[in-house]
Symmetry: C2
Amino acid sequence: MLSYTEENYLKALLKLSFQNEDKPETGTNEMAAYLGVKPATATDMLKKLKEKELVSYKKYGKILLTEMGKKSAMVILRKHRLWETFLCEKLDFSWDEVHEVAEQLEHIQSQKLVDKLEELLGFPQFDPHGDPIPKANGEMPEITRTLLSELQEGDTCTVASVKDTSAMFLQYLEKLKVRIGTRLKIKEVIDFDGSMYIAIGEGEPRSVSMKFAESLFVQKL
Amino acid sequence: MLSYTEENYLKALLKLSFQNEDKPETGTNEMAAYLGVKPATATDMLKKLKEKELVSYKKYGKILLTEMGKKSAMVILRKHRLWETFLCEKLDFSWDEVHEVAEQLEHIQSQKLVDKLEELLGFPQFDPHGDPIPKANGEMPEITRTLLSELQEGDTCTVASVKDTSAMFLQYLEKLKVRIGTRLKIKEVIDFDGSMYIAIGEGEPRSVSMKFAESLFVQKL
DNA sequence: AATATTTGTTAGATTAATCTAACTTATATA
DNA sequence: TATATAAGTTAGATTAATCTAACAAATATT
Ligand SMILES: [Mn+2]
Ligand SMILES: [Mn+2]
Ligand SMILES: [Mn+2]
Ligand SMILES: [Mn+2]
C-alpha cells in the first residue's frame, strides 16, 4: 500500500516523463521543483521508492519509473482524470475548478469506485482539459499533439487539449469561448512577436499572443 | 485546517456523544478504544484539539466537544453520509460496502463538492443505513429511535435504521430481505432468550435473536 | 477509611515526511 | 585540462502520529 505522498511522487515522475518527450528520465532537482519540495527531500523519497522497486536509479544517476511504478502512476492518473470528468459532467464544476479537488480524490483507494465511476460517466475518452483517460488495463491512447503555434496562415483546426491548465489560462479561454472541440482558423501569423490573428468558431477574428498559441494543442483539419 | 487524523478524532467524539445518550461526555479510554489507538495517543491528540479550542476538558476530567468542535464534526458526518448515499444511489454499491470508502471520502476538502453532491442526490434526508444527514447549516433532525427489541407481541413497525452497521449484519439483513422501510410484525416474543418470531414484509414469519432485535431501529405504526 | 481497580497522564522512543547546511559528483566553460 | 557551476547526497533537526512502560489520580470495594 502506497502513502498519499508516495503516490504524488509517482504521478510526478510519470508527468515529467511525458514532458521530457524524447527521453523519459528525470533529475532530482526537476522532480523536487515540480513537487514544491527541496532536492534533499526528493532524494530521500527516491530511496524509498527504489526500495519498493517502483523506480530505478543509482546515486547521481537519472531517475526512471519501473514497469510496476509506471503502472501504479497510471492508475493514479486514471483516477485523477475520471474524477475531473465527474466533477464537470455531474456536478457542474468549471474546468478551472476541477484539478484541485481531483488532486485529493485521486488518492481514494477503491478499485470498484473507479470502475463504477467510469461506467457512470459512460467510459469517457478524455478529461475536461482534453487529456486522454487511461483505461482499466493501464493503456492510454498515445495521441500526437500539435501546438497551435506550429500552424500556418490559412490552416484550420479544432482545439484538442490545453497544455497550460492553470486556472488563469482556463478562465481566459472560457472568456474567449474557446473550448475543447472549438474550430479555429488562422487568419494571419505576425512574425514580429509570434502572435496570431485567428477566428474562433463563428465569432469575429481576434489576436492572441505567442504564449497563448504555445499553450493550446490542436487537431489540424 | 484540520488534519485527516484530527478530523477522525472529532467525528469519533461526536459519535460517542450520540451513543452516550444521557450525557455527551466521553473518556480517554473509550475514545481510544473506538479509534483503535492507545489511551496515551488519545491524550496527546486531546491536548492538540484543546489547544485549537475544539474540545473542552481538563486533566483527568471528562471530554466534551466545544460548539466549534461539534460544528466541524457535523460537517464530516454530513460528508460521510452524503458520500454513502452517492455510492449506493449512483454507483450501485451495496449498503455493506459504502462505509469503508466513505471513511476516505469524508476528508475531501471542498465546500462546493459537498453541496453539489447533495444537489445531485436530490437533498436526501437519510443515508443508506437510515441515519439522518446533517444539513449544510449544521442542523440534523433529532429522531426518537425505538429498538425492535422494545416492541411487544402484536406490534407492527417499519425498519427505520440499523444500529449495528457491520458488513456481517447488513449482509444478513439483505438475505432476510430486511431493508429500510420494510414492514415488520411481531408475532411472538420468547421471554426465555429474548428472541422474536416476526413477519418480514409479505414473507413467511421467522425467528430472529435478541441480538438481532437490539440491532435494528424501527418506527412503530 | 484503607486498599484495589480502573482510568488517565507522562516520559521516552519510533516512523514518515520534511527542512537547512554542508558536502560530493558531474558537467560546462575558459 | 583546470576550474567554476550545477546537480545530487548526506547529516542532523523538526513535526505529526503513534507506541510502550511507568506513573498518578479517581473510583469502587471491602
Ligand atoms: Mn488535473
Ligand atoms: Mn485534466
Ligand atoms: Mn458509515
Ligand atoms: Mn451510514
